[in-house]
């Protein structure tokens, strides 16, 4: 790839990312917002590809585009279009302050990044860094302890989801049986 082509690729995807983000934030139709998010995620995956992070790009597609956006769509469709009032005036001041603070912080961060000449990690990584093979090797040799520990995390998430979701049903069953107890 000539550097010229790489630049075009980068700016095209970067523009698409920004467009997706703007659609997700400013559109009033929740489905279109979710589609904007999808566009953002797909273009991000493209950007990851340009950095030779194929694994990250694939995960981005599977987890974010495949699972999270679909989950959003499910929830939006479950709630229906009537769930959100077209214009929500509550908390306007808080939202405005929040965005202003965020804008100031981002500007500060950009200035910081611009001026910080001693940021040490800006060198290029090897081409096979972050590839599927490298990640697999790390996951099952050096980092096998945290990999195993993450199974506890997944387990507790599953049990927690079941405990919270089953709560109402379980109590109904119990209260029904306790009503029938005196007879």
């Amino acid at each position: 790839m000539t550097p010229w082509l790489g630049l075009v690729y980068f700016y095209l995807l970067a523009a698409l990312t920004v467009i997706g983000a703007l659609v997700a934030v400013f559109n009033t139709n929740p489905i279109r917002c979710a589609m904007g998010l999808l566009l953002l995620i797909l273009s991000m995956a493209g950007l990851f590809l340009a950095l030779h992070a194929e694994f990250l790009a694939a995960i981005q597609l599977i987890v974010y585009a495949g699972a999270i956006v679909v989950l959003f769509l499910f929830v939006i469709m479950l709630l229906g279009p009537s769930a959100t009032p077209p214009r929500d005036h509550r908390g306007r001041v808080i939202r405005a302050t929040g965005s202003a603070l965020f804008a100031i912080l981002s500007a500060g961060g950009m200035v910081l990044a611009w001026r910080a000449s001693h940021f040490p990690m800006m060198h290029n990584v090897d081409h096979d860094f972050g590839g599927v093979g490298a990640i697999g090797r790390a996951l099952f040799t050096d980092e096998v302890a945290p990999f195993e520990l993450s199974s506890a995390l997944l387990m507790v998430a599953v049990v927690g989801a079941v405990a919270v979701a089953r709560g109402k049903q379980g109590v109904h069953k119990l209260s029904a049986s306790s009503k029938s107890e005196p007879t």
């Binding site: 910080a116 940021f119 302890a145 945290p146 520990l149 049990v159 927690g160 919270v164 709560g167 209260s175």
Partner: protein, 501 residues
Amino acid sequence: MLLAFALSPFLILGIGALLLMLAEAFAAPSSRNRAGDNEESARGQALGATMVFLAAGAFAAGVWLYGIDDLEGASSLAPWLMIDRFTVFFEMLLCLGGALASLLAGGYLPEHNLNRGEFYALLLFSTLGAMILAAAGDLLTVFLGLETMSIGAYAMTAFRRTSSRSAEGGLKYFLLGSFAAAVMLYGFALLYGVTAHTDLAGIGASLAAGSAKSPFAILALALVLVGLVFKVSAVPFHMWTPDAYEGAPTPATTFMAIAVKSAAFAMMLRILLTSFGTGAWISWASGWPPVLAWISVLTMTVANLIAGRQDSVKRMLAYSSIAHAGYLLLGVVACSRSPQATASILFYLLAYTASTAGAFGALILCGRRGAEAVSYEDLSGIGRRHPGAALPFALFLLSLAGIPPTAGFFGKWFIFRSVIDGGFYVLAVIALLNSVVGAYYYLRVLVFMYMREPAAGAPVATPMRSGYVAAALLISAILVIALGITPGTTLDMAQAAGLTG
């Protein structure tokens, strides 16, 4: 084999939780017809969970007695899980906390019609996460342990689905907790970017080597501090605590107040002293100690002032746990001058675990189905009518207030002494004044219990009966009195467990 021995507390908790879940799944179909049987099977769960906790704690004590230095292979997991005396001390402490919480759950859940076996699985996994967090020596395992612990706690908070308070508390805790974890993760990412290390020791070495402080490292420290301070529920980030503590079933509140807080302090000590423990980072002029000192003063003062104005005893105890986090933060500040101060924090955490579990347990004991004791009025006159519930309550409140000869007194004593040894005289005076203010609302409960009679026509609290809760109160009472009379041996243990370097 020795590696398995070193890891035995983790393995026992994990395998025990899985076995308990299987036991519940296979016990359920036979007892589906009758409500009574269902309760019996979950009663067995409480006993089983307590046994698992005690077994894990016993194995941790075995590792301690065997000697970490003689244990070959214990360091083979070094960057991920640090098996040192600090970790083993926290393993024992967390197993004690988990055992007390599951004993309380064994009495509370059947009484309040919540008896579902998932609670014990969540409790065990959450404690496992807390132990991972206390042992973690790498940002990756810190985050894994933190999330394992927190997700269990979120689910336990929202466990009483029919109560909107419980759902509200759970949702608040979940959203704010996830947000704090995300902020902390940004900090971790920046730390990795600056130092190219994820292990805490490597980060420490890299930060010590760099002569000038990178602005990104300062930003990372600030973000990590936000996450740490949220998890110990200190003042600018304490908003979720009263709601979550009040809405949660009381055994879950107990667990959050003792185990989650202890593990969060373990994480805070390890990160601050290992990664930010050198040179300018730890100095009063340009490091984190003044920030923590301010947070600690704010935490103590605000929490004590608000706690005095509460009508609900459960909410008061929630604010009291925030105030205790403030005292503990002072200990962390003292650690910046002499690492020996860690011992006082460990001792305080043990005393606080026993007293808080006992206080919540006594509160559970004072209520029964449909009439949980919540407000001060609910407790009025209970000292004369039911001394069996009021007397332990009084003991634990005196210990929380720091009256000798209880564990709480020596906890405060050691913390204040290490603060004074560090030369922070003003902080010590502020903390002393605060503990006087704190005594007011603890003693107010005693006044209601022993000197008031319930108003005519008001519902009178009748205590429940439960062997589990009685056992938990007995264990806590023995600990509170034993630590209050002979603190020496425990303090020696805590000193041996101190972080070196």
